[in-house]
Amino acid sequence: MWTTIFVSGISLGSFYVLIALGFALIFGVTRNFNLAHGELLVLAGYSAYWLWKAWAFPFVLTFPFAILVILLICLGLQRLFSRLRDPIELNSIVLSFGIAILIQNSMLFCFSGNYRLIRIPILSQGFRIPGFYVSYGQLTLFFLSLIILGILYVLMYRTYLGKALRATIQDKEAAALAGINVAAMGTLAFCIGAVLIGLAGPLYGCIHYLYPSTGHEATLVAITITIFAGVGRLGGIILAGWILGLAESFTVVLCGASWREMVSAVLLLTLLAFRPHGILGKGEE
């Protein structure tokens, strides 16, 4: 039984990694906390659901569409975020909170409050390895998260563009002085973030019921993982995702499913309590 819990924890964690990547990237480069992250994710899920249900698109072909939708929205959002004044982190929270409410209510208007699920039967099938059971869905999540992280790794550490992005993550001012177009890096981060959200959204719709207010939980997960990992550490994100996934799986088994929702909140509070200055906590001045 424990191995099954372990497997489901890791796959849940991989799923969380997919959810959190876009948030972490946008925060790292632009220092904007995008609390509308979960809502964008759900919106991507809805657009995939709509194509799949109303137009009978094959599920795999819904991804480009979802990515396109989120890309357009994110480019618009980036315009809003770039107008914020200091303190950017706090103001971005308030702004994106408003955006989250806006998106949530638009989804309520367009898709109603009913629960929707993209049913892909093959994902829930699986096979038994001696000792535990693995579904294709779990395998997909696990390998997909690794592949995407791999691509991001190559992008960040093997290209000039990645070097510029990493420089911006570490120190905006210094990067600007070194001739990096920081504003363009911000736009780029929103674009890559949008692609990541567009990839994760349809998967979210297969795993989790879609309804307008469900994005809040995903946002909390993304925040927790980002703060856990620290800025600009891809390896940290996967570790944080797995730890959160495992913690939730074990909580479900040991305490019951209804306690699961508290896990990420408790983890986040513990992290913040021990790192009161946040991720960049190196004291002042």
């Binding site: 906390f33 103001n91 408003g98 409410i101 209510n105 208007f109 909390l220 990420s264 986040l268 200055h277």
Partner: protein, 331 residues
């Protein structure tokens, strides 16, 4: 929003500020006092304004913390504990709401102390995120503690607002919507008076100083954490009271509702749009925006009418970061 980098020149005109405040207060008071007469028997309008007044009290309570520069995204925690505390005490122990409502406020203060211990070391964005996460804890506990709270089913049959007796004379605030309206009105007025007292006292001065420049505030002798904690506790107490009033007013509560994002978002939105650094701003925003939402947007868009709040918040942050009442006073 904390550190103003605005390049617009505001005339610091004390006279104008006083005039705007007095005019707003006088007009608002008169309109709200006579509202039941004006709308006659229309229960719906009165109900909406009762609710608007309750939300105004929430926004005022939120702003007791907000004036110190901290933005809380988790006031639903205090609201929910207040609602559940009072509802359970009156349901299970049969106590009068006159007693259970203040006790519920104390429960919320206790929770505020916990929030303070965990979150007060945090600043700005991280404080906001911590409060956002914190709400989940009382929500999940309330939803799971079936024996005490009846879990996620919620509580029904909560007693209505109480009766005030003075000798032979008595008013039953729960009996009619007009009576409830006046009770909430009086509560909001009392809270407004208290907020005014705090803001104008030297404690208000200290909270403003902390908000504007914490390091300098500390250097001139302000015990920063003590003031931040007291403002958090006061804010929690009155949010709890408002929650308790809500429970007895609506007479039905459930965890997903009273701990929901709605009651965290609403006071924050009203306070920020109205003006976090003003006394009246949050209340005015509540009394304008909520009726607009209910009378105009709700009939037009039954699903999704709350997009109004999102839109107003976005516009405020981008174009009027100090809120519209501040703008009105200092334009």
């Amino acid at each position: 929003m904390i550190q103003s980098t605005s390049t617009k020149t505001f005339q610091y005109d004390a006279k104008r500020r006083v005039t705007v405040d007095r005019a707003g207060l006088f007009l608002g008071f008169l309109l709200l006092l006579t509202l039941p007469l004006m709308v006659q028997s229309n229960g719906y309008i009165l109900q909406v304004f009762t609710h608007a007044l309750l939300l105004a009290s929430l926004a005022l309570a939120w702003n007791l913390l907000g004036v110190s520069g901290s933005i809380s995204l988790g006031h639903a925690a205090f609201f929910g504990v207040g609602a559940y505390g009072s509802a359970l005490l009156s349901l299970e122990q049969g106590l009068s709401p006159w007693l259970t409502i203040p006790i519920a406020g104390l429960f919320a203060t206790g929770l505020g102390l916990m929030v303070g211990l965990i979150c007060l070391r945090l600043r700005g964005a991280y404080f906001a995120l911590a409060t956002l996460a914190f709400v989940e804890i009382p929500r999940v506990i309330t939803g799971n503690w079936d024996a005490l709270t009846r879990g996620s089913l919620g509580l029904v049959g909560i007693s209505g607002l109480p009766t005030l007796r003075m000798g032979d004379w008595h008013v039953d605030f729960g009996s009619s919507i007009t009576a409830s309206y006046y009770l909430v009105f009086v509560y909001s007025l009392v809270l407004l008076g208290l907020v005014t007292f705090v803001f104008r006292s030297n404690m208000g001065l200290a909270l403003q100083a902390i908000r504007e420049e914490e390091i300098a505030a500390e250097a001139v002798g302000i015990h920063v954490n003590r003031y931040r904690l007291s403002s958090l506790l006061m804010s929690a107490f009155f949010t709890g009271i408002s929650g308790a009033c809500y429970a007895h007013l609506v007479r039905y509560i459930e965890p997903g509702l009273v701990y929901g994002l709605h009651f965290s978002a609403i006071p924050m939105i009203f306070a920020i749009c109205g003006g976090r650094f003003t006394i009246l701003g949050p209340a005015v925003a509540a009394l304008v925006l909520y009726p607009v939402d209910q009378f105009i947007f709700h009939p037009l868009l039954p699903a999704g009418h709350e997009f109004l709040y999102g839109a107003v918040l976005i516009l405020t942050v981008l174009f009027m970061p100090n809120g519209f009442w501040w703008r009105l006073r200092n334009a």
